[in-house]
């Protein structure tokens, strides 16, 4: 068949169409921008990981011996800020979402390609500001930068860090804006809402949170900066303000933000589970709408972070109840994934192992979220390692597992190469084991009363064993994260060329070449089938034989 050929005699695709730094830095191709993001967030992931390593090393012994209190405060602050704002929030949407949203709905690009590029530049500007802030002293307030400590007491670089987050937040808003408009306006003929992959539904819900939540944290940052630099009294009680207002505004964004991190992962897991059990996802409508429900309920539970901050008991009661409610749509998803597996022909390829890992870890994270939503228990474990373990189970266990699963699943599409399957399964296993070893002891530690954000626990040396376990686990986890990076890089050169549809998967993205051409599809696709039509694909006499090139 007539194909335009690239310089090496390969088919022309988005990677080999043009070469040179300029063709990347000025690209408006969503797939290239996805790769720019991939490189940038990986960079920040390792910076954040470096801080984590230092934190875990410090906690190896009860005494504060590796670093001093001030340094330790900066370590966990910079770890949190980098991981949340510069890794997790952009991770799946800006990399896999950017790459896949147009492809999955049969579009040539996102609705606003130049705004997409702008969002990457904003991310980079924010990132450089953050790096500069870290290199010139950093911040010591915790990633939550609570007032009045952040506005009146600390002498670290709050304003600069705040501006960095503000700018990165703008980049996140623009990504969300692009996705919402693209999903509404750019679907291929026949791609109705009820045929959308669940990955798309998840990204739609995520984008709504990005659009409606992020501006609130932006204005909060503006107010913090104004109070700190101009001494406008807004949150500082000495100036007549109320620190509780800060906490409300901050968590109004930051609780929904945790769903920015987890929803895209859930979308990935839905794709993988369906593909590797060769079944239509059980209860498609429920899974799709549960994403929207999570986005809506996610906006109504923020004050569960304020249970001990002095809100009224009635408010606490309501927010506790609502926090239970938000668990329902998450449970809907989990049950539906499990039901999809039932009687499926399951294959245990690496993406599926990650998806299993996701379900297990997310479940433990989510269920301990319910513990924390119970007022009585929360008073006992708030600000302890229990909370740290809870959110890491979801944000690292859940979200990062899903991210890695997605990277493996779509790597053949993105790079045109196959990764080494054996190594990938091994890495999935290592991550799973390392993860539990790192964070399960922290549940116990927290329950026994070890507070978070302490660099020295010499008054409680009995906590050392669990801390040593945790540090050991973190080392294993680190290896688990390094491995995929190594073999992905390796496969770009030495991996076997990938067929267009190595998993025999159902999505539109698999009907394009691997790697795809610049405009994704040479012929505009027309969709005539339902999502996840695996039964049809696997039928003994498939209507269309897979094309092997």
């Amino acid at each position: 068949m007539a194909m335009p050929n690239g310089p090496q005699g390969e088919r022309e695709n988005y990677l080999n169409k043009e070469y040179g730094v300029g063709s990347w830095l000025l690209t408006t191709d969503h797939k290239r921008i996805a790769l720019l993001y991939l490189m940038s967030i990986t960079f920040f992931f390792f910076i954040g990981g470096f801080f984590a390593l230092l934190i875990r090393l410090e906690l190896l012994t009860p005494a504060g011996d590796l670093v001093q209190a001030d340094t330790y405060n900066k370590l966990f602050t910079m770890h949190g800020m980098v991981m949340v704002f510069f890794f997790l929030i952009p991770s799946i949407p800006a990399v896999l979402g950017n790459f896949l949203v147009p492809m999955m709905i049969g579009a040539k690009d996102l609705a606003f390609p130049r705004i997409n590029l702008l969002s990457w530049y904003l991310y980079i500007i924010g990132g450089v500001m953050m790096l500069h802030c870290m290199l010139t002293g950093g911040v010591d307030t915790g990633w939550t930068f609570y007032t009045p400590y952040s506005t009146a007491f600390t002498n670290t670089k709050i304003v600069e860090a705040g501006l960095a987050i503000f700018v990165a937040g703008f980049s996140s808003i623009l990504t969300g804006l692009n996705f919402v408009v693209t999903i509404h306006r750019m679907r291929a003929p026949g791609m109705t809402w009820s045929r959308l992959p669940l990955f798309i539904w998840a990204h739609y819900a995520t984008s709504i949170i990005q659009l409606l939540g992020t501006p609130v944290v932006a204005i909060t940052i503006v107010l913090v900066a104004a109070e700190r630099t101009l001494h406008l009294g807004i949150f500082d009680p000495k100036l007549g303000g109320d620190p509780l207002l800060f906490q409300h505004l901050f968590w109004f964004y930051s609780h929904p933000a945790v769903y920015i991190m987890i929803l895209p992962s859930m979308g990935i897991v839905s794709e993988i589970i369906a593909c590797f059990s060769r079944k239509r996802i059980f209860g498609y409508n429920f899974v799709a709408l549960s994403s929207i429900a999570i986005a809506v309920f996610g906006f109504l539970v923020w004050a569960h972070h304020l249970f001990v901050a002095g809100i009224s008991i009635y408010a606490a009661f309501v927010f506790s109840l609502l926090s239970y409610a938000v668990a329902v749509p998450s449970a809907v998803k989990t049950f539906n994934w499990t039901a999809t597996l039932y009687k499926g022909s399951i294959r245990y390829d690496a993406p599926m192992l990650y998806a299993f890992g996701f379900i297990g870890l997310f479940m433990m994270g989510g269920l301990t979220g319910l513990f924390l939503s119970a007022l009585g228990i929360d008073v006992h474990v708030t600000d302890t390692y229990f909370v740290v373990a809870h959110f890491h189970y979801i944000m690292v266990g859940g979200a990062v597992m899903g991210y890695l699963g997605g990277m493996h699943f779509w790597w053949p599409k993105i790079s045109g190469r196959l990764y080494p399957e054996g190594w990938a399964r091994l890495a999935a296993l290592i991550v799973f084991i390392g993860f539990h070893l790192t964070f399960f002891p922290q549940f116990v530690l927290g329950y026994l009363g070890m507070p978070r954000r302490y660099y020295d626990y010499s008054h409680m040396p009995e906590f050392q064993v669990l801390n040593v376990l945790s540090t050991a686990g973190a080392t294993i986890l680190g290896v688990g994260y390094l491995l995929p990076m190594i073999y992905f890089l390796w496969s770009m050169r030495y991996g076997k060329p990938a067929p267009d549809n190595p998993w025999n998967a159902a999505g539109l993205e698999w009907k394009s070449a691997s790697p795809p051409p610049t405009f994704n599809f040479d012929v505009e696709p027309v969709v005539t089938w339902e999502a996840y039509n695996y039964e049809e694909l696997d039928a003994p006499h498939p209507q269309e034989a897979p094309v092997v090139r």
């Binding site: 606003f112 306006r185 659009l211 501006p215 001494h231 303000g241 109320d242 969709v527």
Partner: protein, 238 residues
């Protein structure tokens, strides 16, 4: 559809509209995308100002008397003039959009110019108000000093908490300041629209920039329509 029967480059199926970007199938899709994008962007703006309004309302209710006393020092006259100016500018924007749709280039240029004049007038009056506040020492900071005016019919006026009066002005400056910043951005956009209109770039089939620029302008006006009563008008007895 057959599995990526990727025949050579898709024949250009549609006529070539120079303003049609490559990834859209037809101009209508491009227009819809742009205006939906602007509406969602405005939703983020609502949340941005929403956080601020929320803070203001909470403190206003918590420290009602202090805020009411402090608000007495704002000039209703200047505020009202500015409100009229902005509403007038919204009208000229509507007329500009209409002129663009009917391809009346000169009319479009005139209305865009008029909008710019009105927008600048607003900022000018705002600058006068700010200067007054400076002179009266009503700008938060070390020089802040507030003496409540005597309110008629309230002989036993409760004493004013200076910190909360100062807080009123803090919020006043942040809210009107951010609004003014949005006005300045709007003026930037309209200058660009003016240049494009001057060059005759807008046609009945391509005038989305005027339309979505207009949406933005209306939004900024609406924010003021809320700011004016909240900051200037609540519980003024005079």
């Amino acid at each position: 559809m057959s599995d990526s029967q990727t025949t050579a480059v898709q024949a250009a199926a549609h006529g070539h509209d120079p303003a049609l970007l490559h990834h859209f199938a037809e101009p209508q899709q491009q227009r819809d995308a742009a205006s939906l994008g602007m509406w969602w962007f405005l939703a983020t703006e609502v949340m941005f100002f929403g956080g601020l309004f929320c803070a203001y309302l909470i403190y206003r209710l918590q420290h009602f008397n202090d805020f009411a006393a402090a608000s007495q020092s704002l000039s209703i006259k200047l505020g009202a003039i500015n409100t009229a100016v902005l509403i007038g500018s919204s009208l000229t924007v509507v007329l500009a959009v209409n002129a663009a749709q009917r391809a009346k280039r000169n009319l479009l240029v005139a209305y865009l110019l008029l909008t710019l004049v009105l927008g600048s007038t607003f900022l000018g009056i705002k600058a006068v108000e700010y200067t007054d506040k400076f002179k009266e020492h009503h700008v938060p900071g070390p020089t802040f000093h507030f003496v409540p005016e005597r309110m008629e019919g309230h002989p036993e006026q409760p004493p004013i908490d200076q910190r909360h009066a100062e807080m009123f002005f803090s919020l006043y400056f942040v809210m009107t300041g951010l609004h003014a910043l949005h006005m300045i951005v709007g003026i930037g956009i309209f200058v660009w629209l003016l240049v494009m209109a001057w060059k005759g770039r807008f046609t009945p089939s391509y005038n989305t920039p005027v339309e979505i620029g207009g949406l933005y302008w209306h939004f900024v006006d609406v924010v003021w329509i809320y700011l004016f009563p909240l900051l200037y008008l609540i519980s003024r007895h005079r």
